[in-house]
Each structure stands twice: as structure tokens, then as C-alpha cells.
Amino acid sequence: MHSQPLSQVPGQTQVTPIVAFHEVSKWYGNVIGLNKLTIRILPGVTALLGPNGAGKSTFLQLATGQLFPSQGTVSVLGQSVWNNPSLNRFIGLCPEQDAFYEWMTGRDFLNTCARLGGMNRAEARDATSRTLQAVGMTRHQHRPIRGYSKGMRQRTKVAQALVHDPDVLFLDEPMAGTDPVARRDLMDIIQRLAGEGKSVVVSSHVLHEVQSLTPNIILLNHGRLLAEGHFRQIRDLIDTHPHHIVLICDHCRNLATRLVAWEDVEGIKVLPGDKGLMVETRSPDAFYARLPQLSLENGLLINEVYSDDDNLEAVFRYLVNK
């Protein structure tokens, strides 16, 4: 039976962050990894984003207790994570690199990981079967890992992170090099884990996948925290880039004359072929509020409306490239 971590002491109403960094800095010689990072990750699925060299790997290594911060404190589930092996029972890590015992079969490897995690033989056997089922590797469990494809290796890595049923899961580029089928399966696994109440921190470069997983992001750049929260809220806060809203309509130039009278509209561009308009505005809320009324007027039916840069890629680009 696992012992209860401190953060789940009943009676506490405030939501405890699963990962808390307080003014954490880490440098390697002269090279800075993280620079005075303070962040609290709440339960749920969170995405960790950033360009190369932003400090994501350093963050994950600090959070899993593999590195000691040069400054500041790191705590996971309310406890300090450095030199705390009993905490590892509640943490699962799926690292970016492959580090398997290549001669073992998938089942052997998972079994070994389960036993190393402290389970007895029967528990380990059950946990292994269950986890293999969860990641969809039951068919290949008796083949040596040497012969696995990239997708199978990724699934095995996620499996070894799950086999001891952790509360917090750290995934470093889990979908790198996998085909869409494996990717869909991994995303389903993550959604299911979130549904079961586990917390997942995913670090990835593939933004459109991250967007399907979760809207909560942490954006790092040059070792510093650039933004955190729901990415749509972040988008609303980006002042320097007005929102681009695309309207597809039949009589777009008429629509344009009406729109240009609105004060919050800063710019209107006619799309090639007179297909529609691209409107720039800094107050999307006010804009969207007035739009349905406008569409009902004669001849101004708006066939389509969508925002060009309401996605994670645009947010990333605006914040990182300034």
C-alpha cells in the first residue's frame, strides 16, 4: 500500500500544486539552464513548451530529482524532490532518450521496472499485464526490445513510467518520431490518465498535438518563464499583436465599409479574390459581441468566421519572436 503524500492530507481545501519551483536557477559552468524560475503547476494536464535551449529538459530533470538546483527550491507533491527516493513511487518519467536493456523482451523490462519500484512478484505481474494492455503492447510483449520500431519504443517508455501507477507523470517529447496511429493512442492514454485524476506534464515541440491535449501551457525561453496559463487567455493578453479575424462573405467590401466604422477595428484587409476580409482588432470581445447583429443585416451574411492566430502556434510565435 502506498503511503499518502503530504499534499493529500484530508481537510486541505486549497489546491496544492503538484510541482512547485521557487526562484530556481541552474547553471552548468557558465551556461544558464534556468534563471530564477518560480512556477506552480496545478493538477491536470499541462504542456511545457519552448524553443531549443529554453530549459525544458533542465526543468524536467530538476522536477524529477536528477539535478540539484544551483539556487532555489523544487518540490513535487509538497515534498522536496532531491534525495527523496520514496517520492519516486508517485512520480513517473518518460525521458526523451531511449535507454533500454535491449536484449530483454518488453514484458521482462516492464516486470523489472515494476519489481525495482518495490512491488512483489504477483503485484508486478499484474501491473505489467495491465500496463501493457493500456499502452497497446500486449501483442509484442515477448519480442526483444532490440527489434522494436520507434512507436513501440515510445509506448514501452510510457509503460515503464506508468507501471507503478504514479500520481504525477512527466513526459519528455513522448510523440517524437511516432506515426499518427501511435500518436493517437498515446494521446488517448494521456486523456484517460487525466480523467482518472492523475497529473501529466508534457514537454513537446509539436504544437498542434499539444493543443489537442490541453489548453494549459507553460512557455519557457532562455531559461525564464515567458507565459503560463490557458493559451487563449494568453492570446488575449498579447497587446503587441492585434487579433486577426477572418470573415468569409459574399459582399465583403460592403461589409468592410460597415466594419471600418467600428472603433475597435484597427485594420481591414481584403483577401485575394474578394473571398472575404481579414480584420485586425485589439478588443476581440467587443468585436465578436457586435458581429451577430451585423450579420443579420441585408446582404451581409457572414458565411464563415474564424481567427487566424487563435492557435498555439501563433501564440508561441508571437511570444518567442517578440
Binding site: 520500431s149 499518427p180 464563415e304
Partner: protein, 312 residues
């Protein structure tokens, strides 16, 4: 630039009943496919035969049976000629060790048969194009991932090939680097008249760059076609996203005979015959709701791909 190649002008490459086995594994299973020129995406799960197909086209491996031609040349006979007309960027990280950027690209050109002067001149030209400025004088081991991929791309176009084959070019790159590579690939394929065969697992990348796709599975052809045609538009079905809760909205629409369905954070509205988006706007105006997204439903490339896998 090279000897005349015979063959139909409207065909990029063509395979007829090609089979290739490695021991017990059939990497290519009686595969027949004809692909038009342009920007072509090659999709397929792991183990579907994409790598084997590319190597067959390059004439690097002998096939057990079947025939085919690429750019008008028979890949069973004219292997070396084929590789002069094609630029291939392999998937894994690969470098000529201990050279600087220009030396790398110039050497790559010399290996295809360029004279050392042409290779050097051309190396600088393509390095300008891919955006490696002063970095070209540094040793290649010191490059970041994005720079290495751009360098690889430069080394494949140095001899001005007719067909560029890119195998997972955005593997492991950060979003900025990915955008650059995709932009370059798109530019080369659409504006500079170089044919492109783009093999990738990242479907949005393929969609951003290619017009035509070929989907393989277990060594067989599952589907092929122009992306715009494969992605069906459901004319009468619209995806709607509101700023706030839409249950009242959905109820109201249902009264008008517009059936609705919830899908993730979107509302799928089916417009009956004779109806239009007008009703949707009116309902939103009545209830003071903001419509943030209104577009006809289109299947995504991912759905096309997964459907093809299921039916294959």
C-alpha cells in the same frame, strides 16, 4: 544539365507490381502506383514500406520482382543516373565529419560530379538560400539541430536536382525551425519548379507543403489523391464554437430543425435543405452570444489517413 530523360511528362514516378522481401518480411507487396509531378506527400505507419519505397526509387536496393521508372528512368538499370537527378535528405542525423558548412555542401556537390569550382560557387548560393549566413564557416559539429537540417537541405539541392526527397525533415525540431524548413520546402516545390517527395508522420507538415498524397500500409497502396479532393467538405454541416455555454443555443437551433451535436469544444450543426447560416447568427444575436468560430466541417488529413488505414 543532364541527358534527356524519356517517359511521360505527366508522371513523377511509377511502380508496377513491385515486390521486395527481407527474409520473412514483405517490405513492398506487389505495389503499383503512378504519381503525378509536383509536391507529393508519402504517408504511412511505421513498417509500411516508405523507407523501402524511397530506396527503391533511388536505385539503392534491387527488387525481387516488378518494374518501374522515376523521372523517366528505369530504376533497375539506371541507378547512378537517377541519383544524379535526385536530391535525397535521409532521416537520421548525418554529417561529413570535421568540415565547415561550405566545405560540407561543396563536398556533397563534388560527390555528385560537379567540378570543385562549380561546387564551391553553388554551395555559397544555396547556403544563402537556406539562410545559413556566417555560420557556414564554422565546423558542422557545432551546429544546432535546426541548422543541421537546413545544411542537409542545402547539400541536397546543390546540384539542382529535378526531384527532392525529404525523409522526416522536421524530426525533433522546435517550432521555429520547423516553420523554416516547411517554408523552404514549400518554396522549392511551388515557386522554383522542383518536384518534391515529402515523407513524414506529421500530417500538418504534409498538408502545409504538399498537394498530393500517397498512403502506404504494410507494403501496399492504401490510397492516393489530391489533398483537397480527399478532404471532403460536408456542405451542410458547420462547426460552431461559442464563447460561453451553448446548451440553450443548441436547444433553440433544434427548434428550427437544425440538429446539433457536441464534439470536443465544438458544436456540429446540420443545416437542413433551404436553411442557411442566417439562423445561426440570429439565434446568437437573440441570446447575446459570441460566435468565435463558424466554418463548414472538413475532414482533416488525419481522418483521411486513419480511414485509409482502417479500410486497407
Amino acid at each position: 544539365m543532364s541527358q534527356e530523360t524519356s517517359g511521360q511528362p505527366g508522371v513523377l514516378f511509377q511502380l508496377e507490381a513491385v515486390t521486395k522481401t527481407y527474409g520473412a518480411i514483405r517490405a513492398l507487396d506487389d505495389l503499383s502506383v503512378t504519381v503525378p509531378p509536383g509536391a507529393v506527400g508519402l504517408l504511412g505507419p511505421n513498417g509500411s514500406g516508405k523507407t523501402t519505397l524511397i530506396r527503391t526509387l533511388l536505385g539503392l536496393i534491387p527488387v525481387d520482382s516488378g518494374s518501374g521508372q522515376i523521372l523517366g528512368m528505369d530504376f533497375r538499370r539506371r541507378q547512378l543516373d537517377i541519383r544524379r537527378e535526385i536530391g535525397f535528405a535521409p532521416e537520421d542525423e548525418c554529417l561529413f565529419p570535421r568540415t565547415d558548412g561550405v566545405g560540407f555542401v561543396a563536398y556533397a556537390g563534388e560527390l555528385v560530379g560537379m567540378s570543385s569550382k562549380s561546387a564551391m560557387q553553388r554551395a555559397h548560393e544555396v547556403l544563402d538560400y537556406v539562410g545559413l549566413g556566417e555560420a557556414r564557416y564554422r565546423k558542422v559539429e557545432s551546429y544546432s539541430t535546426g541548422m543541421k537540417q537546413r545544411l542537409k537541405l542545402a547539400s541536397t539541392i546543390v546540384h539542382d536536382p529535378k526531384l527532392l526527397i525529404l525523409d522526416e525533415p522536421t524530426n525533433g525540431m522546435d517550432p521555429a525551425g520547423r516553420e523554416e524548413i516547411l517554408h523552404l520546402a514549400h518554396d522549392l516545390a511551388h515557386n522554383k519548379g522542383i518536384n518534391l517527395l515529402f515523407s513524414s508522420h506529421l500530417l500538418p507538415d504534409v498538408e502545409a507543403v504538399c498537394d498530393y498524397i500517397v498512403v502506404l500500409g504494410a507494403g501496399k497502396l492504401l490510397t492516393q489523391g489530391y489533398i483537397q479532393q480527399l478532404k471532403q467538405v460536408h456542405n451542410r454541416c458547420f462547426e460552431v464554437r461559442l464563447k460561453s455555454d451553448g446548451s440553450l443555443f443548441a436547444q433553440r437551433l433544434a427548434e428550427f430543425g437544425y440538429s446539433t451535436q457536441c464534439h470536443e469544444d465544438l458544436l456540429l450543426v446540420q443545416i437542413p435543405e433551404g436553411g442557411s447560416q442566417q439562423v445561426i447568427w440570429r439565434t446568437a444575436a437573440e441570446q447575446n452570444l459570441q460566435i468565435r468560430y463558424l466554418r463548414p466541417q472538413r475532414s482533416t488529413l488525419e481522418q483521411v489517413f486513419l480511414n485509409a488505414l482502417e479500410h486497407g
